[in-house]
Assembly symmetry: D3
Homo-oligomer: 258 residues x 6
C-alpha cells in the first residue's frame, strides 16, 4: 500500500500527488497524560485520525508537531508536571506560518490542521488567519478532534453526564482512543481509581498555583476506558472529518482517481 | 469622592495608594455588537465592573485597552463587520507584557485583568505567564466576567436553556449589562426580533466564510434584555470578584485603612 | 446629536460613514503631569481637540491609546514618577501598525494621528512609514498638537519669552487646555509657585539620573494657567487642523452632505 | 525493555529519570533525498543514532524536529524540489530556544543536539549560545553526525576519494544508514546510475538558479550503498558519541545504576 | 602614536586599555547631503569629533554605524533622494542593543554614543534605556553633537538669526565641519547660491510628499561655510564633550596614567 | 579619479551611476585576529577586494558592516578574546534585509555581498533568501573571498598541505592580504613562532570551553606571510570575482561607457 505520510514518502511520490491532494498537519503537545498514557497523546491521536481519514480521501499527512503551546492547569494539568515541555505562543504561530507558507510555495493550497491539544487552538487560528490574509487562494480548516464527537456518543460514554472537554484530559475518551490506536503505549494497570470534578469556569491565576489538579495528572477519570470505545469514537470523528473535507474542499469522494 | 481611575488621578494620588492597592486592567475589543450596542461593549463592561468593585476594596483601575484580539465568527461575528478593528496575537501579548512590567517597575505586584472579549483570553494568559515567569513576587489573576455568572442566574435568564457563552454576543446578557451601566448607549428600538442558534462546535475556517452569522451581528438574541437583569448580573459578578480578590490577594476587606 | 466617537457608535453607524470619513487616532501616554493634572493629559487633550474638529468636518474618532512611549526626564519628567507607565518603542510601533492596517482592511484610507506626548512622535512616524510603504492609497497625517500653536499666541502667553515645548509639561499650556476641556480634573489649588528653567539641550543619560526635574513633576510652571487661555489655544489648534485636513485630504468643507 | 523515547514515555517515567539523564534532541529537515529515500532522512538518522546511544548510556530522546532550516542547492538540492518544506532561520532559533528552556525549567541541564541537516548547524548554534548565555549550569553539545565519521572509514567507502560532505546528500553514506536503520523506507531499485561532482566552493546565488543539481536530487551518487556500510558507519558514530558524552558530561559509563 | 580606533587595534591593545577606558560609538546615516558633501557626513563628523576627544582623555572609538534611521524630509531631505539608505527603527534598536551588550560582556561599562543624524536620537535612546534597564553598572551617555554648539557660536555664524538645527542639513555648520575634518571630500564649487527657509513645525505626512525640500538637498544654505568655522565649532564641541565625560564618568583628566 | 565608495560620494554622483551599476556590500566582524592584526580584518579584506574589483567594472561599494555574527572558537577564536564584539543572528539578518531593501527601493537590483567572516555566511544567505523571495527582479550573489582562492595557490602557499579554511584565522593568508592592502596595520614583529593544528570536525560546545584555541588567537600560523603572497592571492580573487560578476549579472566588460 502506498504511504500517505510525508515522513515516509520520496519527493517524486509527493510531487505526483501534489496537484489534487489536501495536506493534513497535526499539532500536539509534549504534555503529561497521567501515569498510564505517553507524553505524546496530543499528537498521536490526530496523527492516527488523519491516517484513517487518508484511507477515504486523497490526503498527505505532514510530519506532526510534537511540541505545542503551554499546558493550562484547567485543561492539561499545567506546566508543573515533569515532561510537559512547551512552546511560547509566538513561536507556535511562527512555526505554523512558516510550514503553511512553505507548502504554499510548492503549490499546496488546501490544508487541514488537526489539533490534539486544547490550548493550541487560538495560536493555530492566528497562524491560519495570517497566512490566509497574506495569500490568495489558500484555505485552512482547523479541527479540534473532540469537537467532532457527537452529543449522543458523549451521553453513551458518560451516562452520569458529560463533565466537559476541559477535564477530558488523560481521561476516558483520550485513554480509549490511545487503547484503540496504540494499545502498546497504554499502562492500563496504572489507571487510578479516581474521579475528578466536572469542569467549572475559574479565574486563571499566574504563577500557576500548586494542587489545582489531582496528583495523577488525570483531570477527570480514565476508569471505564476501552479500545472498543476508542474505535467507536475514532470512527465517528473520521466520518465527520470526511464530510467536512468534502464540504469545505469540494473533493469528489471517495473514488477520486489518483 | 476620590477617584480610583488612573485616567483621572494625579501622580501623588497614585503614589499614596501604591503600596496597598491592586491594579485592575480591563481588556476589551473594538468589535461590532449588533445594531443596538456600541463598538466598545467589551471594554465598557469590564471597566464598569471594576469601578463597582472599587467601591468595595482598595483598587486602582488602569486605562482600558480598547483594542483586542481578532473577532471570531463563532463568538464575535468575525472580522467582516465594519468597525471590528483588532490587534494581532503577538501585538496584544507584547502590549500587555509592557504594561504589566512597567507597573511592576513602580512596585505594583498584584494585578487583576478583567477581560471582556472571548477571543482575548489565551493572549492575556500568555502575557501573564511570561511576566510571572520572568519576575518573582507578582501575581496576576485573569477573569472573564462571564465566568462569574452563576448557573442559577443563567437558568433564570434563559428558561429555555442557556445557549452557551460563545453565542452570548450582543445578546441578552451583554445588552442588559450595557442597559444597566450606560443606558444612553443602547438603541433598544433597533433590537431585531431575531433568535440565533445555540452554540455548537464547528471547524474553524480561514479565510472567514461569508454568512456564518446573522446579518445583525447578534449571535443569539437580545430580546428580553433589560437594565434590571443587567443590575442583577453585575451585582453577582462583583460579589464573586470581591471574594476572588480576597482569596487570591489576601486583602483585609473592606475597611482597609487607606 | 450623532456621535463621532467609535467607542459610542454601533457598527451600522460606522458602516454608513465609512466611505467619506477620515479616521482620527489619538495617541497619549500615562504619565505624571504634576500634582494638579491627571495622568491621562496626553490622551485627553488630543481626544477633545478631535471632538472639536469633528464639529467642523466629517470625522470618526477612534478609541484613544492611553499608553505611549517612555517619558524622558527632559520633556515629561521621566520614568521615575509613580504612575508613569509606558510601552517600549517596538510595541508602540506594532500597536499602531496593527490598528492602521485593520482600519485599512475595512476601507479606511485617510488617517489623522493626533499626538499628545512629545516622546511618541518618532514611533508614530515609523508606524505610519511602514503602513504607507506597504500599502497603496493610504495617507497618514501625524500632528503634534503643540506644533499648531502660533508664535503669536506663545508670545501672548509667555510675555517673558517662550521656554520651549520641551518644558511645557504640566505647565501653562497643558494646564489651560485641561481647564478648558475637563475643569473637573484640575486641582488648581495644588499648583505650586514654581518656575522651572527654559529648555536647553543636554546629553541624554541612561540610567535616568535622579533630581533632573522639579519635585512637582511640572517642568516649567503652571502658574497663570486658565480656561480662557485654554479655549483660545484650542480654538487656534482646531482652526489650523481644519485647514490641514482640507489641504491634505481634499475634503469639501464644511457642508459636506452626510 | 524500558523506552527512552519521550514520545512513548509517561510523565512518572520521565520524572524518575530526570535527575541523572541527558536529553537528546534530534533536528532534521523535510527535504528531498532523491527518488529512493524518504523526505525525513535528516531526522530519521539522528533519531536512530540516539536510540542506539541510549543502549549504552542513560539517555532520554526527545521528540524530533522534522522541519529544519531551508535547503541549499549546494548541500541539499535547494528549495525547488517538491516536498522540501522548511523553516526560516529565526523560527528555528526560537523553536530550539523554547524547547531547551522549557526542559531547563524542569531541571534538565545537559543536552545533546543531534543534527542531521547540514544547513541547520548555525541556527542550532545560535539557539544553544543564547540559552547558555542566559542561564547558568546548562551545557549543550551540538553534533553533526557526519563529523563523527572517521577519515579511515571515508577512505574505505570512497576509494576514489571522498567527494566532501556537502555533496553527500541522498548519496552513499545517507543511503547506507537508512538501509541499516529503516530498510523498509528505501527504494533501492530507483537509485539512478548517476555520479555527481565533488564539492567545490561556489558563490551563493539568490534567487536559487535552476539546474544546479542533478535532476534526481542526489548530489553525488547512491550507487554502492548497502546496509552493511550503514551498520559500520552507525557503529563508529555511536562509539564516538559515547566518548563525547562521557568527556563532556562526565557520566560514569556504562553501568550507571538507574 | 597609539591608535584609539578599534578598527586599527589588535586584541591585546584593546585588552590592555579595557579596564579604564570609555568606549565611544558613533551612529550616523547614509543620507544625501547636498551636491557638495558625501553621503556619510553623519558618521564622519561624530567619528572625527571622537578622535579629537581621544587626544584629551583615554577613549576607545568603536567602528561607526554608517547606516541609521530613515531620513525625514524636514530634517534630512527624506527618503526620496538617491543614496539615502536607511534602517527601520526596530533594526537600529536591536543593532545598538547587541553592540552595547557584547561590549558589556567583555567588561566595558561606560559608553559615549555620539550621534550625527537628527532622526536617530529616539532609537538610540530606546536601546540605551533597554540595556541599562537590563544590566546593572552600565552608564550610557548619548550626545547629539549639535546640542553642544553654544548659542554664542550660533549667533556669530548666523548673524541674521539661527534657522534651527532641523534645517542645518548639509548647510553651513555641517559643511564647515567637513571642510575642517575632510576637506578632500567637499566639492565647494558645487555649493548652490540657495537659501532655504527657517524651520517651522509642520504635520508629518506619509507617504512623503514630493517637493518639500529644495532640489539640491540642502535644507537651508551652505554658503559661507569654511574650514575655520569648522575648526572653531569642533573645538567648542570637543571641549564641552570633555567636560561632560568628566562629569558623567568621573574620569581623572587628562593625565590619567595609562 | 572618481570615487566608487558610497561613503565618499555625493548623492548626484550616486544617482548618475545608479542605473547601470552593481552595489557591493562588505560584511565583516569585529574579532580578534592575533597579536599582529587589527580587529577589523574581516571587513578590511572584502572592502579592499571590492575597491580592486571596482577598477575593472562599474561598481558602487557601500559602507561596510564592521560588526558581524558571533565568532566560533573553531573558526575565529570564539567570543572570549577581548575585542570580539558581535551581533546576534537575528539582528544580522534584519540589518542586511533592511539595507538590501532600502537600496532596492531606490532602484538597485544587483547586489554582490562580499563576506570576510566565516560565521556570517548562513545569516547573510537567510537575508538574501528573504529579500529575493519577497521581491521580483533582484539578484544577490554572496561570495566568501576564501572560496575564490584556487587549489593551486593553496598548494603553493602550503607546501605541507592546506590546513583548512576553518583554521586560516589570523594566519598566513589573512596576514598576507593585510600586508598587501594595509601594511601599516600589521605588527609583523609580534607574529609568534606558532603552528596550530589542522582543522578537524569537533562537536560544538556551549558555553564555549576555555583553552580551545592557542593563546595568541592565531588558529594555525602566520609565519611565512608576506605582501607578495597577499598581492598574488588578491589578484586571483579579483580576477575570479570579475568573471563571476560577468556571468551572473551579464555586464559588458570592462569598457562599459559610464
Amino acid at each position: 500500500m502506498k504511504t500517505i505520510s510525508l515522513t515516509e514518502m520520496t519527493w517524486p511520490e509527493f510531487a505526483r500527488g501534489l496537484p489534487h491532494t489536501l495536506v493534513a498537519l497535526c499539532v500536539g503537545s509534549l504534555e503529561q497524560h497521567g501515569p498510564h498514557l505517553p507524553l505524546s497523546v496530543d499528537s498521536l491521536i490526530p496523527y492516527h485520525l488523519c491516517l484513517e481519514l487518508g484511507k477515504k480521501i486523497p490526503l498527505f499527512v505532514a510530519p506532526p508537531l510534537y511540541y505545542g503551546y503551554r499546558s493550562s492547569p484547567f485543561t492539561g494539568g499545567g506546566q508543573s508536571f515533569p515532561g510537559t515541555t512547551s512552546l511560547s505562543g509566538q513561536t507556535l504561530i511562527l512555526l505554523l506560518q512558516d510550514i503553511l507558507q512553505d507548502f504554499l510555495r510548492q503549490g499546496c493550497h488546501r490544508f487541514l490542521i488537526m489539533n490534539g491539544h486544547f490550548e493550541n487552538t487560538p495560536f493555530i487560528s492566528e497562524a491560519a488567519y495570517l497566512v490566509t490574509a497574506a495569500h490568495k487562494d489558500v484555505k485552512v480548516v482547523v479541527v479540534n478532534w473532540w469537537d467532532l464527537v457527537s452529543a449522543t456518543t458523549l451521553e453513551e460514554i458518560f451516562p452520569e453526564g458529560f463533565p466537559g472537554w476541559e477535564v477530558e484530559h488523560a481521561s476516558v475518551v483520550e485513554t480509549s482512543l490511545v487503547m484503540h490506536f496504540r494499545p502498546d503505549l497504554v499502562h492500563a494497570e496504572l489507571i487510578p481509581a479516581q474521579k475528578g470534578e466536572k469542569h467549572k469556569p475559574r479565574p486563571l491565576i499566574f504563577p500557576e498555583p500548586a494542587n489545582l489538579v489531582p496528583e495523577s495528572g488525570i483531570l477527570y477519570t480514565a476508569m471505564g476506558a476501552g479500545p472498543d470505545k476508542g474505535a467507536a469514537i475514532a470512527g465517528e470523528i473520521v466520518a465527520r472529518l470526511d464530510r467536512i473535507v468534502a464540504d469545505e474542499f469540494s473533493l469528489t469522494l471517495p473514488n477520486t482517481p489518483e
